[in-house]
């Protein structure tokens, strides 16, 4: 099945790291679930994936599902392509999204919508799953759209 993606085909495809650290995240996105880390010791939310809690140094990091409601913390719009797949793309929008529901951890994604849309820091966004079913190893990206 062809799936529609924000960026063109041929972009680097994510694969779980060889040590298993973030396998749960990538498996979760395939099911349409957004899983992030939370310390089983002190309850601190943490992103990106790490073996140890940065706050209490517990190794008991758990995966917890969140709704994916966030706020735009920062943004950028690359115009100059640095990858062959982007050569004819034109500008695209990247957002750094803060998640108040998960201790204000931040996640990176594209902001779906027209490339010239106004981006407002603090605006509310929600997670959208973007499956890449045709990839050699299928994967799903988490993207963001205004809510």
């Amino acid at each position: 099945m062809m799936s529609e993606s924000y960026l063109p085909a041929g972009m680097p495809a994510p694969v779980p790291s060889g040590d298993g650290l973030d396998l749960a995240y990538w498996q979760g996105t395939r099911r349409g679930e957004l899983l992030v880390q939370r310390c089983g010791g002190c309850g601190t939310w943490q992103w990106g994936p790490e073996w140890l809690c940065h706050r209490c140094q517990s190794f008991n990091m758990q995966w917890q599902q969140i709704a994916g409601n966030g706020l735009i913390y920062s943004w950028e719009r690359p115009w100059h392509p640095v990858h062959l797949a982007l050569a004819d793309m034109g500008p695209y929008t990247v957002v750094l999204v803060e998640l108040p529901e998960a201790g204000n951890i931040r996640m990176i994604g594209n902001l779906l919508g027209p490339a010239d849309q106004e981006v407002v820091i603090g605006a509310a966004v929600e997670a959208v799953f973007e499956p890449h079913d045709d990839a050699d190893t299928p994967y799903t990206l988490v993207q963001w759209r205004a809510r």
Binding site: W75, E76, V94
Partner: protein, 394 residues
């Protein structure tokens, strides 16, 4: 002053660089460039290459120290050192590491060098061609976040948002570098002045913070500087530029993955800069001239603020071409043309320029410059910075 400070114990006695080329234009191999720069630093100091007994670099420089030691006929390689991580953020730390080795007695004559032929190897400004990515890159590259401009852009967007900083500040930083390069015959952009209209009409690399002229060049070349003890430096042919203080590192969770640094809207100098001033025993008001690594003008903006030259709320008034221009500006900046307009020698060219200012040999000399600030590549981690001074500052 603590007995553990580096202050006044070590001096730069020699500097050297190759011709600076646009990327891909060097007729010589990267390793040959490294040797040329090192030999020129020795010649400048009046020291035989065989007297060098230490080598220090950063950013995983490809020119192996043992190969250099063999090529130079060094009878006793006593110190070899690579500053870990941080890319161009390590340039001042490499000078600091070499200085520390001399102060500790590990070596007597350390050359700090960087050789970079981006035309012969992968360019920093290009995404890696790998079809798959894992680790941190898996959360960035699939979204089109691959080059340094893209990886550091959102720090600056947020900083400028938080403090109401206008893009005119970035324009002033870019124009100061190009203005200074016009009187520097070594500069790749010598003879290619930048006017405000050209800057304003230049294309976005990353909106809303990096136009073309806000981004460093990509170059081929090499640079080196030679360190000896303060006592030894007094007997050599050049006026010594003393290391007054140096600091490296980064603040709380600066390297937290996927842009989760605690202090994200930052150049990573929040704790490093205060340590630098403490060890050097000077304050921002004492500094005569600033060499601040331009990966992007945004990094200069944040790093200069974090080194206390102005408050973030004052940035719009502070960062003007007049204030940043040699010789009379309030804070003359990047007086060789810097990474933007002299050469992207991964920041080592800026360190050499600080030495020239202390010696009185700059193409854009600040009259009677006694204290020069060197700020290494901002926004990465670890970062580093260093202050050099003339003998009268000791």
């Amino acid at each position: 002053m603590s007995g553990r400070s580096i202050r006044g114990k070590v001096a730069v006695a020699g500097i050297g660089e190759t011709t600076y080329y646009k990327h891909g234009k060097s007729p010589n191999a990267e390793f040959a460039l490294a040797l040329q720069a090192i030999l020129r630093a020795c010649e400048d100091a009046g020291i035989k290459p065989q007297e060098v007994d230490g080598l220090a670099s950063y950013s995983n420089d490809r020119s192996d120290p043992s190969r250099i030691a063999a090529a130079l006929g060094m009878p006793d390689l006593r110190f070899s050192n690579m500053q870990w991580g941080g890319g161009g953020g390590g340039v001042a730390a490499a000078v600091a590491n070499g200085s520390a080795a001399i102060a500790a007695g590990y070596a007597d004559c350390v050359v700090v060098f960087r050789a970079l032929a981006q035309g012969q190897f992968r360019r920093f400004g290009q995404g890696a061609p790998d079809p798959t990515v894992s680790g941190d890159a898996a959360y960035m590259a699939p979204y089109g976040v691959m080059s340094p401009a893209q990886k550091y852009g959102m720090r600056a967007t947020r900083f400028m948002h938080d403090y109401g900083v206008k893009n005119d500040t970035l324009r002033a930083i870019a124009m100061a570098s190009y203005q200074h390069a016009q009187s520097n015959p070594r500069a790749v952009m010598h003879g290619r002045p930048l006017d405000g209209e050209t800057y304003d009409n230049s294309r976005w690399i990353v909106e809303p913070i990096n136009r073309l002229f806000d981004c460093c060049q990509e170059n081929d070349g090499a640079a080196a500087l030679l360190l000896v003890s303060a006592e030894r430096a007094k007997d050599l042919r050049q006026k010594p530029a003393y290391v007054l203080g140096a600091a490296q590192g980064s603040d709380h969770r600066c390297g937290a993955p996927v842009m989760n640094a605690t202090n994200f809207a930052s150049s990573s100098f929040a704790t490093v800069a205060p340590r630098l001033y403490e060890t050097a025993g000077v304050s921002p008001n004492d500094i005569d001239v600033v060499q601040s690594y331009e990966n992007f003008t945004t990094g200069v903006l944040m790093a200069v603020v974090e080194h206390g030259f102005c408050a973030p709320e004052e940035a719009n008034e502070f960062f003007t071409l007049e204030n940043l221009s040699a010789p009379t500006g309030r804070m003359p900046l990047n007086t060789s043309g810097g990474n933007l307009a002299e050469c992207y020698m991964h920041g080592l060219g800026l360190q050499l320029e600080a030495v020239r200012q202390i010696r009185g040999q700059s193409c854009n000399q600040i009259p009677n410059a006694k204290l020069a600030m060197n700020i290494a590549g901002p926004m990465v981690t670890p970062v580093s910075s260093l202050i050099m001074g003339s003998e009268e500052t000791l």
